[in-house]
Amino acid sequence: MTTEKILRWGLFAVLLLFALFYLMPLFVMLTTSLKSLEEIRTGGLLSLPRQLTFQPWIEAWSSACAGTQCEGLRPFFWNSILMAVPAVLISTMVGAINGYVFAQWRFPGANLFFAAILFGCFIPFQVVLMPMARMLGLMGLAGTIPGLIFVHVIYGIGFTTLFFRNYYVTIPQELMRAAKVDGAGFFRIFFSIFLPLSLPIITVSVIWQFTQIWNDFLFGVSFSGAGSQPVTVALNNIVNSTTGVKAYNVDMAAAIIAALPTLFVYVVAGKYFIRGLTAGSVKG
């Protein structure tokens, strides 16, 4: 009994140790963002702040300069939301209906096509940058938020389709047969029967896509125009000073602010994320 107790404590200690490891960067960022620049210049980077200041946070949010515009991250936040929300919704919707076809309406060649879509998940985005720019130009979407939405939807389809397809294959075919006998057609079955069943996997898809799109920098920097830059680009602009003075505390505050929405989503909905992710794709 006692050895078991000791074992349990050891186990708990290991888990805590790992927790510290995972928390370390957040700790560094948080403490730095609460120090004055003076203290950073003179003191250790890993030490606790001697005197708390929230000035960097205020500055990062509302007055730090990104180019000639000195309004902090605030305006760019809105850009990101305008981009991320529609992109997440559209790619999830497209993924849902694609997944529905792949799982329940198989036709010859469907598997090959599905494989082709999946392979698209693995393409490095640097590769598509330049041809995509040309295409966006041709479509008249260059430098606009709809253009960014378009790009994120295109490269999000792979994962969302995978999620939904793997989820929908676990739904028995009989359900669809029953609906067919009942006289329902393709869209009727989807909207009345499959969609209402999809909450777990919609959660997964939304979280995944939101994280990807919100955190994206490469597409954001390449395909945005003046006025449509997402928050990651603004963050990068605030943080990167080539030949000027660096304000680390503001940088760190800005970084945390920019990450807050995704952090929030993970902390609040992380449980469902895991549950949904394993709901379809993995069978023990």
Partner: protein, 392 residues
């Protein structure tokens, strides 16, 4: 109504304030300024964005571009001709010839210079130097001797950040210092194979190896401003860095001459890094007017003064009075005028003034690989020559 969309990577701190001056002037002259800042990677991200914009068929009207990249872009897509503005304002008369050349594409003006950074500065902590009885070195032997002394005293002689461009910066000053302006031009501007494989180049790498010994252990990946802070805080004695480092000192309230000293790196010559704006072909009167206005303002004496005081560099125009500038800037300006005449005003390779991207990159690769490993000077010389040949 003139409009301009300006793509640049001066996004934060003093740089952002400096560019804001231009924006103000532009607005005062009735223009509409659209700001398109993209920072990161010393302009890499901005270049990525630029390429996307050009491919998409809506290039910005003005882009922060410099060195041979201007001509490269001209060859790929063509650039707007701003000769009218240049001639009207007599740019040729007020710009040093070498710098003016950078602004021309096949004889016509296509870009406007903002400033001149001197790259080959060496910065010292006055107090440490005084305590150890050290003068600013004027040759690399002197530097080595001083460094040895400092090392014995337990002081890190050279503050350095281990990033490829910083390695390259040190490298080019050594090339200039040991080989002289002629050699520098042959090796790093004309990419003469003889010069690249010469014994002088071997000596340069030898010196690099020696310098590596003067750097503390933690230099890898360090930002240049942290290295500057080391000099400021007395943790290190010297730093080899362009004059933007001055901004760090000044921001911390340090005074040139009393707290820190600035001097050209050992040897002769002036390595410049000129920031400039290139003008892309755009449609529409508004935009073309905007380009003209912008070009005029950039070269305007007022902007040149205000901007460069903010940024720590000196005006590209030689006729701007420097009374309000600090001593380092004044010295820099004098050297530039002098060197401009005797041909030792040279473009910095490390900052993309001398070579096209592929070649500059190839050299940087070898330099940084040598500096960060045990590679012998012979191997380095050989690799250097090979890499340059392969990148042509």
């Amino acid at each position: 109504e003139p409009t301009a969309e300006v793509l640049h990577w001066w996004t934060s701190g003093s740089e952002a304030k400096s560019i804001a001056v231009l924006q103000e002037e532009f607005k005062e002259n009735g223009g509409t300024w659209t700001d398109m800042p993209v920072a990161g990677g010393g302009g890499d991200a901005a270049m990525t964005a630029l390429r996307a914009r050009v491919l998409a068929g809506n290039a910005p009207s003005a882009v922060q571009l410099k060195g041979p990249a201007i001509q490269e872009w001209y060859e790929e897509t063509g650039l707007a001709d701003i000769s009218a503005v240049a001639e009207e304002n007599g740019w040729a008369d007020v710009l040093p010839a070498q710098i003016a050349d950078h602004m021309k594409c096949e004889g016509q003006w296509c870009a406007a210079p903002v400033n001149v950074h001197r790259v080959n500065w060496i910065w010292g902590n006055k107090q440490i130097l005084d305590e150890n009885g050290i003068e600013m070195p004027s040759t690399w032997e002197e530097f080595n001797a001083a460094a040895d002394k400092l090392q014995e005293a337990g002081i890190t002689p050279l503050a350095h950040g281990g990033q490829a461009w910083q390695d390259a910066t040190v490298f080019e000053t050594v090339v200039l210092g040991l080989g002289g302006p002629e050699f520098y031009k042959a090796a790093l501007v004309d990419l003469d194979q003889e010069a690249l494989k010469s014994d002088t180049m071997k000596e340069v790498f030898d010196e690099m190896r020696v310098l590596r010994g003067y750097v503390d252990d933690n230099f890898s990946g360090r930002d240049w401003n942290l290295a500057t802070a080391m000099v400021m805080n007395g943790e290190a004695a010297f730093q080899i860095m362009g004059d933007w480092a001055k901004g760090e000192f000044l921001a911390a309230g340090k005074q040139p001459g009393t707290d820190f000293v600035c001097a050209p790196t050992p040897g002769e010559g002036f390595l410049y890094n000129v920031d400039s704006f290139a003008f892309f072909n755009v449609d529409g009167d508004d935009k073309q007017q905007g380009q003209a206005l912008l070009a005029e303002l950039i070269m305007g004496p007022n902007f040149q003064k205000v901007f460069n005081m903010n940024k720590g560099s000196i005006p590209a125009r030689t006729d701007v009075p420097l009374d309000d500038f600090d001593d380092c800037a004044k010295a820099s300006n004098e050297d530039m005028q002098a060197d401009s005449e005797d041909g030792s005003l040279l473009p910095s390779f490390a900052h993309g003034m001398a070579l096209r991207g592929a070649q500059a990159g190839a050299i940087t690769d070898v330099v940084t690989a040598h500096f960060n490993s045990e590679m012998s000077s012979e191997d380095a010389v050989q690799q250097l020559a090979d890499a340059v040949a392969a990148s042509m």
